[in-house]
């Protein structure tokens, strides 16, 4: 019945206009996502003026298309040139890049495409089925819960550095430190800004990310060119990628649900979702697969499926409570309000057709991502046949222009270069970069929410936390994550003695 009803609504609400806007949005999204530094946030901001004169559903189709396409496009750059086009693709890159260097480039990107589609479709179905009911979860997340969740993400730091957990922790703490630069979130006091108003605003994510990964990659390649390659024909590579749906279904489902759940929580976001999902996949490694970080397909699937599922999850509190969980969703919300459509509990009563139209557009977008993504891979593979120096020159140029375009501040370019050199040095010394990014992204979320929790508890943190069941269970989960590996190690050691 629901299916027939939906089909009825679909034909009423969605016409050629909406589909054309959606396809255009997806294409723009994939491209801006793949360009280092540009990203889907800039994409949706720049698209807003073009939505003024469109109907509400068509306007949202364009913006949602960019959001969905953008969260996928980052994986393409991560795999093919070793630079995460978006922060969310940093976890994808851990395994997609080694796969590409080992001659499985098309397979890795196809895996990302399938994962993104799967994550998107699952989150769309959740959105359609239970958005208003699930929105209540978002309200259960106060500062204490958000801080606990950020801490859970931070426990992944040591696990993401392969052979040497200490290096992972060191990089994680470096990320935490870099994130403290700027104004204190609670008192507003300047920290490590040396009197510079530019640093008062804090280190921006784009120059940090593009510098660490993009500029350092160019420098690395100047020394020793590395190429993504395909040993198989495209057909057998994609057959192998598609067969993962049958051979690894649990990973897809688990990652999609993780993504939807993290998406619903305001202020956590896709970066955390992809790393958490990746961390979970690590606990379920198949013995015949390579180690994580050395080209394990499960790593690619976990990260990409989760970060695409976040998109649908994040729309739930935005549409039902008008709480935007991340900056991109905040712009989407602005786009809706420009149309005179007010998100919030009344949306489903006053503008039910718009709400349903958005849900459907989201579902169709997630499905359309598959053919468009596959088409895009073909184009990218052709570009990668160009000489390596010309690709790297292009990457350098796009990194500079992309970073500048975010805030049009020359200082951002200096920062880009500083982080580029830092990234290069760290990679030469075999330090992993991913934990630095997690520390940088999660540090402020943890700090401001933890300190707010202290303020709200009015000096009695311990009894306050006891009244928050979600916080307590997340803290238990953290204890499990930290203690369990230690316990197994101790048990293994004590065995020969027994």
């Amino acid at each position: 019945m629901i299916v027939i009803e939906l089909f009825q609504i679909a034909t009423d609400l969605i016409g050629v206009h909406e589909l054309a806007f959606l396809t255009l949005g997806l294409a723009i999204g994939i491209i801006v996502g793949a360009l280092p530094g540009v990203g889907p946030l800039i994409g949706v901001i720049m698209a807003i003026p073009f939505t003024y004169y469109a109907e509400p559903v068509a306007a949202m189709a364009l913006l949602i298309g960019i959001y969905q396409g953008g969260s996928y496009g980052g994986a393409v750059a991560a795999t093919m040139i070793g630079i995460p086009g978006t922060p969310m693709a940093a976890a994808t890159m851990l395994d997609a890049r080694p796969m590409a260097l080992a001659g499985r480039a098309s397979e890795a990107v196809t895996l990302s495409t399938i994962g993104s589609t799967f994550g998107g479709v699952v989150s769309a179905l959740v959105l359609i089925a239970v958005a208003p009911q699930l929105a209540a979860i978002a309200l259960r997340f106060g500062p204490a819960e958000t801080a606990a969740f950020a801490l859970l993400g931070l426990t992944a730091l040591g696990a993401l550095s392969g052979s040497s957990p200490m290096k992972g922790w060191a990089m994680g703490f470096l990320g935490l430190f870099v994130a403290t630069i700027g104004l204190d979130p609670v008192t507003g006091v300047q920290r490590f800004s040396f009197g510079s108003t530019y640093l008062d605003a804090g280190i921006a994510l784009v120059p940090l990310l593009v510098g660490l990964f993009g500029i350092s990659e160019v420098l690395m390649q100047v020394e020793k060119p590395l190429r993504a390659s395909d040993e198989d024909t495209g057909a057998s590579a994609s057959a192998r990628a598609f067969s993962s749906l049958v051979s690894r279904p649990i990973n897809y489902v688990r990652s999609a649900l993780t993504g939807v759940f993290v998406g619903i929580i305001p202020g956590i976001g896709g970066v955390t979702a992809s790393f958490l999902s990746y961390r979970m996949a690590m606990s379920f490694r198949k013995t015949q697969d390579p180690e994580f970080g050395e080209g394990n397909p499960d790593g690619v699937i976990a990260s990409e499926t989760a970060n695409s599922a976040v998109t649908g999850g994040a729309l739930i509190p935005m549409m039902s409570l008008s709480i935007p969980g991340d900056p991109i969703v905040a712009v989407l919300m602005g786009g809706l309000m420009i149309q005179g459509v007010q998100p919030g509990p009344q949306l489903f009563l006053q503008n039910a057709d718009v709400a349903q139209g958005i849900f459907l557009i989201f579902l169709i977008g997630a499905i359309l991502l598959l053919p468009l993504g596959l088409l895009f891979i073909k184009g990218v593979v052709r570009v990668l046949k160009l000489p390596q120096w010309s690709i790297m020159a292009g990457v350098l140029m796009i990194s500079l222009v992309g970073t500048y375009s975010v805030a049009r501040q020359i200082s951002d370019l200096w920062l880009l270069i500083v982080f580029g050199l830092l990234g290069y040095g760290l990679r030469k010394a075999n330090f992993p970069l991913a934990p630095l990014v997690i520390g940088f992204v999660l540090g402020p979320i943890f700090e401001s929410n933890f300190r707010r929790t202290i303020l709200i508890s009015q000096g009695d943190l311990f009894s306050y936390v006891q009244t928050r069941p979600i916080t307590v269970s997340v803290l238990c989960l953290i204890a499990l994550f930290v203690v369990l590996p230690l316990l197994t190690r101790i048990l293994r050691r004590s065995k020969p003695l027994a």
Partner: protein, 328 residues
Amino acid sequence: MTRMLKTVTLGIAASMAVLFAAPAFADWPDRPITIIYPWPAADPTSVAMRTIGELVSDELGQPVVINNVTGAGGTVALATAISAEADGYTLVSNWVAAQVSARLFNPDLPYSNDDFVAVAGVFAIPFTLTVAANHPANDIAEFIEWAEAQGRTLNFGVCAPQSVPRLIGEQFMTVADIPYNPIPFSGGCGGDNVTGLLNGTLDASVAVVPLINAFGGQIKHLGLLTDERHPIDPDLPSAAEMGYPVGWGGNAFGWGGLAALSGTPDDVVMRLQDAFGAVLTGDALASELEGNVGAMISYIPPGDFQEMWAESEILLAPHVQSILGSGN
């Protein structure tokens, strides 16, 4: 050789011509004007400024570009602006938070009131006392009665740590003699603090009027933290008429406007003041911006606007001192 010399001479002559032609400003403006804007592109005031810019560009015959330079409560925008040429091609949107309150908290910020010349006061946003929709109180008097009955320290959302709404909110709680615990939110007045009201971590918060639409029926405003009512919602009583004067007069607002850089030639400043004044008082803007965005716009002539800077500083200084003294 001679040919090259000729080219070089010609080149020098041409550049000299440009050099000497520039200070005359007779043709001002002959290129686009940039407004450095401190809030994100999706912010409602940013949308309003874009519309104002379009209308002003019709007056001046050159495009007006809005450059969103965000960060650190608007201080980055002002600090970026002072390094530009004082030629009237770079304007900055100066808000009370960045120009007055942030500087009282951090005296080493690189700018002062003297670095700017007023073009127009554009926005005056009154702050509200806001609670969740299911809160028992329906106005300020009932809220104070409720607060006294609680017999505990209230968790009170105050927007950003060094913001004007925080100073006004704390002033109100002091006047009303309610024990409170200020909880700052880095996102300002329209984000996490409202979520805090909805999930019960906050008892009350400072907020702004348009939020009531944004959160459709989930929150309610008890009153304005001002001395008088405001056209943005004429039915909303002010704290003063309920017997709790905040006492800041026209300064009890988040004001924001436009300034040129000191040293800009007088005729250029006057043309800017006239062009923006005409647009801000004209009918075209009123018809383009309806509803809440339109109601936030309140034109203040340049002379009065310039005086407000120093007045606000005198008013806010003791409150900043008391916060700095309390160690919060």
